[in-house]
């Protein structure tokens, strides 16, 4: 229906009108800065990431391997018991092929993003990340993938120490 309307009533405002002070505006940039304590569980998790390892916590009550690690089991509501390393391999649970960047601009090379359930952790435990070294037509749910780590010297203790997950086939193990 809107396609039939050549010109909407009223005066259109563009960004230039705002920049040039053509309309009354009020600019305010809040001074809102935070530095969150990662706490016991995530601090260890991030330190291990920097070493190229993934770590989880085990709850001996329900037997689940909780990843990312937490110091309490949210199902049993009790402290978790032990640190457990999990693998850097896993399975694609769900994915999306994003044709827009964060500014909602069209991109020619789509971004592959999804959730990987990590081998060694309990079901529904995993990490959301990017996928690489695979074609858009190749990605599928159930695909086995492995973390592509950044070089040790450029890791900083962040989930981006993993560049992306790539297909497990063809990986020299």
């Amino acid at each position: 229906m809107t396609a039939n309307i050549a010109r909407w009533p009223g005066a259109e405002l563009g960004s230039k009108d705002l920049e040039n002070g053509k309309v009354t505006t009020q600019r305010y940039r809040p001074d809102a800065k935070f530095a969150w304590s990662a706490g016991e569980a995530m601090s260890r998790f991030l330190a291990e990431l920097q070493q190229g390892r993934l770590i989880a916590r085990e709850c001996k009550n329900c037997g689940r391997i909780l990843f990312p690690p937490r110091m309490f089991c949210e199902e049993c509501f009790r402290p978790t018991d032990e640190w457990v390393y999990v693998k850097d391999t896993g399975t694609i649970e769900t994915y999306s092929i994003s044709y827009l960047d964060t500014d909602a601009r069209r991109i020619t090379e789509p971004i592959l993003v999804g959730v990987v359930s990590v081998d060694g952790a309990s079901p529904k435990m995993g990490i959301m990340h990017y996928f690489g070294e695979m074609a858009t037509g190749e990605i599928r749910i159930g695909m086995k993938v492995q973390a592509k780590w950044r070089p040790a010297e450029s890791r900083v203790g962040s989930v981006l120490d993993i560049e992306y997950f790539r297909p497990l086939h063809g990986v020299d193990r």
Binding site: P30, D31, A32, W36, S37, G39, E40, F72, C76
Partner: protein, 383 residues
């Protein structure tokens, strides 16, 4: 139907808590409260309420991040964007309306995660009308202190007496972050920051978590601890406009108290309570709130502070916990902290702070600058 507090959990308040994430801090508060009540949150709780403000947490839609650490996974859960007493009022309503028998109320401060607290407070000012003026937002407290002292006849020395009393009594409170042997003279001579407000007139931020378990009468009687009954509760807001609100007498506190007193059938507040916990995020606020709640006659709160009427053993022991000045400003958890301190006194479990014969207490909260909102609760045992 009566509603009682059956579980009290308070983590020690500290200037910083780098060892805990905000989730781990909440878990610590929750497990203390559930142990006190003797309940399993996974099976014994009908509803969970948190009281939080996104800008204090530093990320959006904080309510979504609360279930895990409270044992509330896949259970009814919601967040009140306000002070803990406002959350407690929600719990009372849920229980009295039959929605739940047992409700958990949580609030916390992880203020040490906020790098620019002043900027956060300033961001609470009106974007078109006040923000362009810039400057430190605490001048709002200076304005109010000036108006209150002039309008009520209280004196700045009385505010210094409040500072000294609350900092000193906090030395007896194991959860307090800022207990110190501060004297009236020290407080009166500390640097003027937003005159007449001086440095020591302002409370200091702290990290901490408070969790309460609240239950209807039948359920409460089956729990481990002696219920502390919520006899009345109320909340109110004055105008958000700095130019419109009443600077001398805080209308939000008066209205919230009227609501709570009506429910609790309190007719003569000055003679009805063995203990008061009223907001003291700034020293003058304690005096202002005492008068708003009709616990002190107009212009006489300062005299009560000077003469020892507000101390342990006085006519109306007030903020013997140390309040926000002595324990630390725990933001939206401040109201729940006061409820917790009063509940422990009513149960006879306040340790070295314990007063004799505490049967009925009044608790009041204020959301802090630049708000004009708060709540009041009347608590009692027996009867």
């Amino acid at each position: 139907m009566r509603v009682g507090i059956v579980g009290v959990g308070v983590t020690p308040f500290r200037p910083t808590t780098p060892e805990f994430s905000w989730k781990e801090l909440m878990y610590d508060g929750a497990q203390r409260s559930y142990a006190d009540a003797g309940i399993d949150p996974r099976s014994d709780v009908g509803s969970f309420i948190t009281c939080a403000e996104d800008y204090y947490e530093g990320f959006g839609i904080f309510d979504e991040f609360t279930p895990d650490q409270l044992g509330a996974v896949l259970r009814p859960m919601h967040t009140v964007g306000g002070d803990g007493i406002q959350g407690l009022a929600n719990a009372v309503m849920q229980i009295r309306s039959g929605l739940a028998d047992v409700v958990v109320v949580e609030s916390h401060s992880k203020a040490s995660d906020i790098l620019t607290f002043t900027g956060i407070v300033a961001h609470g000012l009106d974007p078109i009308w006040n923000k362009p003026l810039g400057g430190h937002p605490n001048y709002v407290a200076g304005l109010e202190m000036d108006a209150f002292l002039r309008g009520s006849g209280n004196r700045s020395e009385d505010c210094a007496a409040v500072v000294a009393a609350n900092r000193q009594t906090a030395l007896l409170n194991p959860i307090a972050a800022y207990g110190a042997r501060v004297t009236k003279e020290q407080a009166a001579k500390s640097p003027a920051l937003w005159a007449p407000l001086r440095q020591l007139d302002a409370s200091t931020l702290a990290d901490g978590c408070v969790v309460l378990v609240v239950a209807g009468e039948a359920a409460a009687r089956k729990m481990r601890s002696e219920p502390v009954w919520i006899e009345g509760i109320g909340w109110a807001s004055d105008s958000p406009s700095l130019e419109t609100r009443d600077w001398v007498a805080p209308a939000y506190a008066t209205l919230a108290a009227e609501m709570a007193y009506r429910l609790a059938k309190v007719r003569d507040p000055a003679r009805s309570f063995d203990l008061a916990e009223v907001d003291d995020k700034f020293s003058y606020k304690e005096l202002q709130h005492l008068e708003a709640l009709r616990l002190a006659r107009k212009g006489h709160a300062g005299k009560m502070a000077r003469s020892g009427d507000l101390a342990a053993g006085g006519k109306l022991p007030t903020n013997v916990s140390g309040g926000s000045l002595g324990c630390g400003n725990v933001l939206e958890a401040s109201g729940l902290h006061r409820v917790a301190e009063a509940a422990l006194q009513l149960r006879g479990e306040a340790g070295r702070l314990q007063l004799d014969g505490v049967r009925r207490a009044v608790v009041q909260s204020w959301r802090g600058l630049p708000s004009a909102s708060g709540g009041v609760a009347v608590l009692g045992v027996g009867r």
